[in-house]
C-alpha cells in the first residue's frame, strides 16, 4: 500500500466519532500532562495502560501517541508564565519565554510556541510517512558517533553563557559532576552512590531539572518582596507581524534539529532544544536580545521539542525498537494486542499503522485549534495571587517527582537541587549550562567507554566510520570556535573603543541611523 493510499485509508478510519473522540481526549490529557510539572507522558501512559487494553490496538496507540505530542504543547505554558519547565525539554523555553512574559508578552510567546509546535509536528509527520529509510539513519549512530555528538553538544555551553563565561563554565562543570553518580558502565562498580541503590542508575534528569529550575524559581520569588498579586503585566494576546517574521527561520531550523535528534538512540534528545536555542542565538542579528525576551528563543526550542516527539516514534514504527520510556509503553500496547511494530506492521496490518499516523495529523490540528484560544485562559492565571498559584504548582511538582519512579527519593532529589539552584541564582551562575552537561555527561562517558570496549581499547575506533570521523571533526571545530568566539568579541569591542571618532560631519538631512552607528558604543 503506497503512502498516499495508506494515509487516505487512515484518515477514513480516524475521522469516525469514536476515534476522533479518543484523539481529542488524548490531546487534552497530553496537554494536561505537559502543563503539570514533573508529570510526564511516560507516567501518564503507564497509568492509562490498563485502560487502553479495552480500546484495541488502534485506539490505544492513538491515545498514547496523542499524550506524547500533546505534552510537548503543554510544557510551554508553565515555562513561559512561571519560569517553571513543565517538561525536561521545556527548559530552553524558560530562558526567553519567561522574559517575554515579564515584559507583558506572554500571549505572543505562547501563540508563537503553539504555531511552531504545530509546524514541527506536521513536518515531523511528513517525515514519518517516508519513515523506512529514516530508520536506517538511527542505525548509523553507534557509540563512536554518539560520542562525537556529545562533544559537539559541549560546544553549545558557551552559547548559553549569558554575561559571564567563567560562571557558565562553573555551571557546566557542576553538571558533569552531577552526571557522575551511578554504576560504572563497564565494570558495574557503584560510584558515588553512598550505598544507595536509588543512585545506581544515576540521578533522575527530570527530578534534577524540576528542582534546579522549578523549585529554585519558587524560592527566588519568595526572596523578592512581592506580597500578593502578580507583577506580570498582561498585554496583547496575539503575536505581531514582526514576531511572525522573526520566528519563521527558527521554526524551520528547529524542525530539522528536533527531527534529527529524535531519531538518535541514547536520548541526547533532551539537549535538542538547547541546540536550537544556541543556533538561533548564533544566527540572529540581535544576539544581545537573547536572555531578555527574544521571540526566536521561544520559537526555535518549542518547534524542536515537538518534532522530536514525533520523530522519536519513528524507530518504533519502522524498526520495532522503542527509544524512550513512552515508546516502550506503546510497544507494550502493540504486544498485548498481538501486533509487532516494524515493517511487518505496514505489510500485514496497514490499516492500523496508517490510522495511527493519520490520527497524529488530526491530533495536531486539534491541538493547534485548542491552544491558540487557550492562550487567553492561561494568561488569566497570571491574575491569581502568587501564594495560591505557587502553592498549587509546588504540590504538582512534588507529585510529579514522585510519579517518575514511584519513589520518594526523587522528591528529595528535586528539593535538594531546588536549594542548589536557588543558591546558584543568588551568585548569578547560569543554570542552563548545567542542565545541558548533565544530559551530555552520562551519554558522553557511556558512549566513550562503549566505543573503547568495541575496539578493545584502541582509540582509532573514534575514526572507524566516515560518519564518526566527520562528526568528530565538526565537533572539535565547534568546540574551538566556541572557545575563540568570546575572545574575538572582546577584541572587536576593544578595537572599536580605541578607534578615533569619524571626522566627517553627519549631514543634517540623514535622520535614520546607519548600522555602524548602532554598534558603536
Amino acid at each position: 500500500m503506497n503512502p498516499i493510499d495508506g494515509l487516505l485509508t487512515g484518515f477514513a478510519t480516524v475521522l469516525t466519532p469514536g476515534n476522533l473522540l479518543l484523539a481529542f481526549l488524548g490531546c487534552i490529557l497530553g496537554m494536561l500532562v505537559g502543563i503539570l510539572p514533573g508529570f510526564g507522558p511516560a507516567a501518564a501512559s503507564a497509568i492509562l495502560l490498563p485502560v487502553t487494553f479495552a480500546l484495541g490496538p488502534t485506539g490505544a496507540i492513538i491515545v498514547l501517541a496523542a499524550i506524547l505530542y500533546g505534552a510537548s504543547y503543554g510544557g510551554t505554558v508553565t515555562a513561559v508564565l512561571l519560569n517553571v519547565p513543565g517538561e525536561a525539554s521545556s527548559v530552553a523555553t524558560t530562558l526567553d519565554g519567561y522574559q517575554m512574559a515579564l515584559k507583558g508578552r506572554a500571549g505572543p510567546a505562547l501563540s508563537i510556541a503553539a504555531m511552531g509546535s504545530f509546524v514541527g509536528c506536521i513536518v515531523g509527520l511528513i517525515g514519518f510517512v517516508i519513515a523506512t529509510p529514516l530508520s536506517k539513519f538511527a542505525l548509523l549512530f553507534g557509540p563512536p558517533e554518539l560520542f562525537a555528538v556529545t562533544i559537539f553538544g559541549l560546544s553549545i555551553v558557551t552559547g548559553l553563557a549569558g554575561k559571564s563565561l567563567r560562571k557558565a563554565l562553573i555551571s557546566a562543570a557542576i553538571g558533569l559532576m552531577v552526571a557522575l553518580p551511578g554504576l560504572d558502565p563497564v565494570s558495574g562498580a557503584p560510584r558515588f552512590t553512598f550505598q544507595s541503590p536509588e543512585l545506581f542508575d544515576g540521578l533522575s534528569f527530570v527530578a534534577v531539572v524540576m528542582g534546579l529550575f522549578g523549585i529554585s524559581e519558587l524560592l527566588s520569588t519568595i526572596d523578592h518582596n512581592i506580597k500578593s498579586g502578580r507583577a506580570l503585566p498582561v498585554g496583547k494576546i496575539l503575536p505581531t507581524a514582526s514576531d511572525l517574521k522573526r520566528s519563521a527561520g527558527p521554526i524551520g531550523r528547529g524542525t530539522l534539529i528536533g527531527f534529527a535528534m529524535g531519531l538518535l538512540p541514547g536520548s541526547p534528545g533532551a539537549a535538542a532544544s538547547f541546540l536550537s536555542y544556541v543556533t538561533e542565538k548564533r544566527l540572529s542579528k540581535r544576539p544581545d536580545e537573547f536572555g531578555k525576551g527574544a521571540v526566536e528563543g521561544v520559537a526555535g526550542p518549542e518547534t524542536t521539542n515537538n518534532s522530536m516527539a514525533i520523530s522519536g516514534m519513528i524507530p518504533l514504527f519502522a524498526l520495532g525498537l522503542p527509544t524512550s520510556a513512552t515508546t516502550a509503553i506503546m510497544l507494550g500496547a502493540f504486544t498485548i494486542n498481538g501486533l509487532v511494530p516494524g515493517p511487518l506492521l505496514f505489510d500485514e496490518h496497514p490499516e492500523v499503522a496508517w490510522a495511527i499516523i493519520a490520527s497524529m495529523f488530526v491530533g495536531n490540528v486539534i491541538l493547534l485549534f485548542l491552544n491558540i484560544p487557550l492562550v487567553r485562559v492561561w494568561v488569566l492565571f497570571l491574575r491569581l495571587p502568587y501564594p495560591v498559584l505557587y502553592g498549587v504548582v509546588l504540590g504538582f511538582m512534588l507529585l510529579g517527582a514522585y510519579s517518575l519512579e514511584n519513589s520518594i527519593f526523587n522528591v528529595g532529589v528535586m528539593l535538594a537541587f531546588g536549594v542548589l539552584g536557588y543558591l546558584l541564582r543568588k551568585i548569578d551562575v547560569p543554570l542552563a549550562p548545567m542542565a545541558l552537561t548533565i544530559v551530555l555527561g552520562q551519554l558522553m562517558e557511556r558512549s566513550f567507554r562503549q566505543s573503547l570496549a568495541m575496539s578493545e581499547g584502541s582509540p582509532t575506533v573514534f575514526f572507524s566510520t566516515p560518519l564518526a570521523t566527520v562528526l568528530l571533526i565538526i565537533a572539535l571545530l565547534a568546540l574551538l570556535y566556541s572557545g575563540i568566539r568570546p575572545a574575538l568579541a572582546r577584541r572587536t569591542r576593544f578595537a572599536r573603543i580605541l578607534a578615533p571618532k569619524s571626522e566627517v560631519p553627519v549631514p543634517a538631512n540623514i535622520s535614520t541611523p546607519t548600522s555602524t552607528d548602532r554598534n558603536q558604543k
Binding site: 541503590p197 519558587l218 525498537l321 516494524g342 520518594i408 528539593l415
Partner: protein
C-alpha cells in the same frame, strides 16, 4: 531582616512538605494477624521491579484482573523500577508478610542482585517466600541474518579465530554477562563485551553491525526476528521450545532458562502462600490469560512453590560460583 524571615518560612514549608510526603512512603514491616485470607476490602499489590511496557509488566497486567476475580479482592500493579530490579525487590523484602504484597522475583536474574557483594543488596534468598512461577522465558543467541553465522559452532569457531563481540545489558556480572561466562566456561573461548543500558540499545548495536551477537530472551528479540532483521541461532535451554521449533538446543550444556516468579516477603503463613499459589494455578489455566501471556513472548507455565524454591536454590549455587570465579571483591 524580612528576607531572612521569608526564607525561614520557605524552609519550614519545604521541611513540612518533605515530611508529609515521607510519611506516605514505603510501608513498614509490621506483623498483622491473618484471620481468613483473603479479607474482603483489602487490596493486593503486585510489585513489578521494572518499568511499564516490558515483558514482566505485561505479564503482571495480564494476571492482575483475573487474580482479582479469583481472590475476590482488588489487585493492583505497582511499578517500582530502578537499579536492575534491586529497588523493587528491596521494597518487596521490606513489605509486611501478610499476603497482600507480592512481587516478581524473576529467576535467575534477581540472584546476581544479592550474590554480587558490590551491589550492597539488603536481601538474600532467605528474605523471600516463593509462591509460584507463572511463565518460562528462554534465552537465545541472536545474530544478523547476513552475518555468516548459522550455528553456535560457527560463533565459537569465529571467537576462537579472532575477537567476537557481544552487546550486553547490565554490565559486568549482570544477567547477560553471566550467561556469556557459562558459554565461555563450556567452550574455552573468550568474548569481548560492550555494555548497553537496555534491550533496545543492545539490539540497535547488533542491527547497526557494531557487535557480532547478543544473548537475549525470546520476548526481547522476537519482534526483530519476525521482521526478518535478526536470526536466532541457538537456544540456551535444556529442551526444545515449541514456539521456535527451528532453533536448535545448544549442545554445550548451557541452560539459561528463566522463570517469571512471584514471591512474597519471608515469614508468610503457609496457608496464605498456598491460597495464592492455588489461585495463580487456576488463573493460568484460563485460555485467555494463557494467550495474553504467550503473546508477550514468554510461555505460560505454572511452577509450584516447591519447584520454584528448588530452582532458586540451584540457580543460587550456580551464580555464586560464577561470581566468585570472576573474582568479585
Amino acid at each position: 531582616m524580612k528576607t531572612t524571615r521569608k526564607l525561614l518560612g520557605a524552609a519550614m514549608v519545604l521541611a513540612l512538605a518533605t515530611g508529609a510526603t515521607a510519611c506516605t512512603s514505603e510501608p513498614t514491616s509490621t506483623a498483622t494477624t491473618t484471620s481468613k485470607y483473603p479479607e474482603q476490602g483489602k487490596d493486593m499489590t503486585i510489585i513489578v521491579p521494572v518499568d511499564a511496557g516490558g515483558t514482566t509488566d505485561n505479564v503482571a497486567r495480564a494476571l492482575a484482573p483475573e487474580l482479582a476475580k479469583e481472590l475476590g479482592i482488588n489487585v493492583q500493579v505497582l511499578n517500582k523500577p530502578g537499579a536492575a530490579q534491586q529497588i523493587g525487590i528491596t521494597q518487596l523484602a521490606q513489605s509486611p508478610a501478610d499476603g497482600y504484597t507480592i512481587g516478581f522475583t524473576n529467576l535467575p536474574s534477581m540472584i546476581s542482585g544479592y550474590a554480587n557483594p558490590a551491589r550492597g543488596a539488603t536481601y538474600t534468598r532467605e528474605s523471600f517466600t516463593p509462591i509460584a512461577g507463572v511463565a518460562k522465558s528462554d534465552t537465545v543467541v541472536a545474530v544478523k541474518p547476513d552475518s555468516g553465522i548459522s550455528t553456535l559452532d560457527d560463533l565459537i569457531s569465529k571467537a576462537k579465530a579472532g575477537t567476537t563481540t557481544a552487546a550486553i545489558t547490565g554490565g559486568a556480572l549482570g544477567d547477560d554477562d553471566l550467561i556469556l561466562r557459562q558459554i565461555q566456561n563450556a567452550t574455552g573461548t573468550k568474548f569481548n563485551t560492550v555494555p548497553f543500558d537496555s534491550g533496545t540499545d543492545k539490539m540497535l548495536a547488533l542491527l547497526g553491525g557494531r557487535v557480532d551477537f547478543i544473548v537475549g530472551s525470546i520476548a526481547t528479540v522476537l519482534p526483530q526476528v519476525q521482521n526478518g532483521q535478526l536470526k536466532m541461532v541457538s537456544l540456551l535451554a535444556k529442551e526444545k521450545n515449541d514456539a521456535i521449533p527451528d532453533v536448535p538446543v545448544n549442545d554445550i550444556g548451557v541452560n539459561a532458562s528463566a522463570n517469571l516468579t512471584l514471591s512474597g516477603p519471608k515469614g508468610m503463613p503457609a496457608d496464605v502462600t498456598a491460597a495464592i499459589e492455588k489461585s495463580i494455578k487456576t488463573v493460568l489455566d484460563k485460555p485467555d490469560v494463557k494467550a495474553a501471556i504467550d503473546k508477550t513472548g514468554s510461555q505460560t507455565t505454572f511452577i509450584s512453590a516447591s519447584d520454584t524454591s528448588s530452582f532458586w536454590e540451584e540457580g543460587d549455587g550456580k551464580i555464586k560460583e560464577l561470581i566468585s570465579q570472576a573474582g568479585a571483591k
